[in-house]
């Protein structure tokens, strides 16, 4: 639905409460960089259940949501073995235990479902070679609807296609947004725009809520327009320990710990007791991080500046009246024009 202009600025707690429901299909908007981890932690704290997760890279986003027992089905292209070759992954453990089903796509075919969903199409063409693979031939819970085929009327060739995906909620973290919800992101694009535009509701966390004029000055960085956004939250460090260009780099120390703890199921769940369930929000998470590892540990990952070359959107003509108050089109001043209206105009009144 088109989102109204009433205030969308709220807390993460409120946004998740209002827009994420048991049984929903949710999607990680970001690809691998800038994972919306503050939102994901809140979904876990609110103990949402039986959800279907779309996660392109089956990364930390999936690991946490699965460990939080929020997810029963997953559509993905990859399972990142955060626990290493031996430890494997939480997704892998849940799959093995029969507590999770997965439907496999490739990065492109996954993206194509979202591209169809974003466009309002019911299907999208994918690349023919997929028909030779088990990704196409073997079907999980999507069954017959995992892939289909059409015929190109111009070449007569068989073209494989995927159905549109339209998740209920997209979780997104970006660099900046305005209070209306216009969200700006720069860096690796992945399938982020399609993930957002395909979704019914979009929750945006951002490092900074900026003035609307900042957004208007850099429109090519707006990846989601305000009228598609349900909630916007200023959430510094919203994707920590993952990185966000211009704000902070990957927290290598925290990633090491995550890899340690995720070598076993209890390891990660214990970690989550301390870092997810026991902390009410992202600000207390960061506070806890500082208390545990020290401010310098966090600070060393602060981004150094690397600014883009300026882009000038300026034009020449700012008004059809010149500095002397004359119309540049008609070479008369305002009073003369109003006289001319009476003279030559097709008057309704007067």
């Amino acid at each position: 639905m088109t989102q109204s202009n009433s205030t969308k600025v709220m807390t993460t707690k409120e946004a998740v409460k209002r827009f994420v429901h048991d049984g929903d299909t949710i999607i990680t908007g970001n690809y691998t960089e800038a994972l919306p981890l503050s939102l994901i932690f809140e979904v876990i704290r609110q103990e949402k259940k039986e959800m279907t997760l779309y996660s392109q890279s089956g990364n930390m986003d999936a690991e946490f949501l699965v460990a939080g027992d929020c997810i029963s089905r997953m559509v993905s292209t990859f399972v990142t073995k955060w626990g290493g070759r031996q430890g494997g992954s939480m997704v892998g453990r849940y799959l093995k235990a029969g507590k999770l089903e997965i439907e496999d796509y490739t990065n492109f075919t996954y993206n194509a479902m979202l591209a169809a969903g974003a466009a309002g199409y019911s299907y999208m063409q994918v690349l023919p070679a997929i028909m030779d693979t088990d990704v196409f031939k073997k079907r999980g819970f999507m069954g017959a609807n995992k892939f289909g085929v059409t015929t190109c009327p111009f070449t007569g060739k068989t073209i494989p296609v995927v159905p549109a995906a339209n998740p209920d909620v997209c979780l997104l973290h970006v660099q900046r947004a305005d209070k209306y919800g216009n969200a700006q992101h720069w860096g690796g694009l992945g399938s982020t725009v399609h993930a957002c535009l395909a979704s019914k509701n979009i929750i945006v966390t951002c490092e900074e809520i900026v003035d609307h004029e900042v957004i208007r000055s850099a429109p090519h960085h707006t990846i989601v327009p305000d009228f598609r956004v349900s909630a916007v939250i200023e959430e510094p460090y919203g994707c920590h320990p993952m990185e966000l260009p211009g704000y902070y780099g990957t927290d290598l120390n925290a990633l090491s710990i995550f890899m340690f703890t995720n070598a076993t199921e209890t390891g990660l769940k214990d970690w989550m007791e301390e870092w997810v369930y026991a902390l009410p929000d992202r600000s207390s998470y960061i506070q806890h991080y500082i208390e545990t590892y020290g401010l310098p540990t966090l600070e060393q990952y602060r981004a150094k500046p690397y600014y883009s070359a300026p882009t000038n959107y300026g034009i020449s003509t700012k008004s059809l009246w010149d500095e002397q108050g004359k119309s540049i089109e008609m070479n008369i001043d305002f009073a003369e024009m109003e006289k001319l209206i009476v003279e030559k105009g097709d008057l309704v009144n007067g």
């Binding site: 199409y121 707006t222 327009p225 034009i315 105009g345 097709d346 009144n349």
Partner: protein, 290 residues
């Protein structure tokens, strides 16, 4: 005492009033973009004006001359491309209103902007489809404006779907959003709406000083008239003041407007020619391109 205003101004402001705060409004070039600017300035500051080139949520600095005009890109919120404008905004269901100009229109609000059959029976090219067919098909609602176009019994070419053959045909075809289609047609002299059952166009309002007969004379079918005519909106002084500052020539008919523009251009160039003659003599011409 209120300033006198013209039928052309009345039209712009009547169209502007159709755009509500918060609307996603796709504007055709010309009158619709000017009306959008008036709406945004006067009563709909958070209307999101859009042009089909993918310039979304803009606020024109001066009236745009074409649908990617740079006067609309000095500050705008969302740069999408044309493909996305038609798919993820329009087809996906996020376009509240399309505001489009009319060449030929029939009684069910179907449009032709492509070809007109000349007196000798040959089709003559007018402008073209542009984005109209898809916008009138998939916007939740379409506002039509007519300045120099015409009403016809049968279109010379079917460019853009209104209510097709009338009645439930559009809704029942299954390829249009339910309830979509043209909701109003505004001209400098009258407003028309579409019957909720038959989808036939009927007269809903007359501008001050315009007779019903005058309107009927332009329409080749037996025009139905609302039992109770609505009032045309009366432009406020603020609306007129903004419109005249923003788009000074909008108050005149196209003929008068073009005449004034051309006169100014001719005058300016003659003056410059004299100036150049002077500077040439003194050898001060420079090569700016070097």
């Amino acid at each position: 005492m209120d300033k006198p205003y013209t039928r052309q101004e009345l039209l712009v402001i009547a169209v502007a009033r159709q755009i509500k705060d918060g609307d996603n409004a796709l504007l055709g070039i010309g009158l619709p973009t000017i009306a959008g600017a008036v709406a945004k300035h006067n009563h709909a500051p958070r209307a999101r004006l859009m042009m089909e080139s993918g310039i979304a949520d803009f606020d024109p600095v001066v009236p745009p001359m074409h649908i990617a005009d740079a006067c609309c890109t000095e500050g705008y919120s969302y740069a999408i491309d044309l493909f996305g404008m038609f798919t993820s905004i329009t087809f996906a269901g996020y376009l509240d209103k399309a505001v489009l100009g009319v060449g030929q229109i029939d009684k069910y609000g179907n449009l032709n902007s492509s070809y007109m059959v000349s007196p000798d029976g040959k089709p003559e090219r007018i402008t073209g489809a542009g984005g109209a067919p898809e916008f009138i098909s998939y916007a939740k609602e379409t506002i039509l404006t007519l300045k120099s176009g015409e009403f016809v019994e049968k279109l010379d070419y079917f460019t853009s779907p209104g209510y097709l053959g009338g009645g439930n045909e559009r809704d029942e075809s299954g390829i249009y959003p339910k309830g979509s289609g043209p909701s109003i047609l505004i001209t400098p002299r009258a407003m028309f709406k579409f019957d909720s059952k038959t989808k036939e166009m009927y007269l809903s309002a007359l501008a001050p000083g315009v007779s019903l007969d005058k309107i009927k004379s332009k329409i080749p079918w037996e025009l139905k008239v609302a039992q109770e005519l609505e009032r045309f909106p009366v432009p406020t002084q603020e609306e007129l003041a903004f419109l005249r500052k923003f788009s000074p020539r909008s108050c005149f008919s196209t003929r008068v407007s073009n005449e004034l523009l051309m006169n100014t251009a001719i005058e300016a160039f003659s003056q410059r020619a004299a100036f150049l003659e002077q500077t040439r003599k003194h050898g001060v011409i420079q090569n700016a391109a070097s």
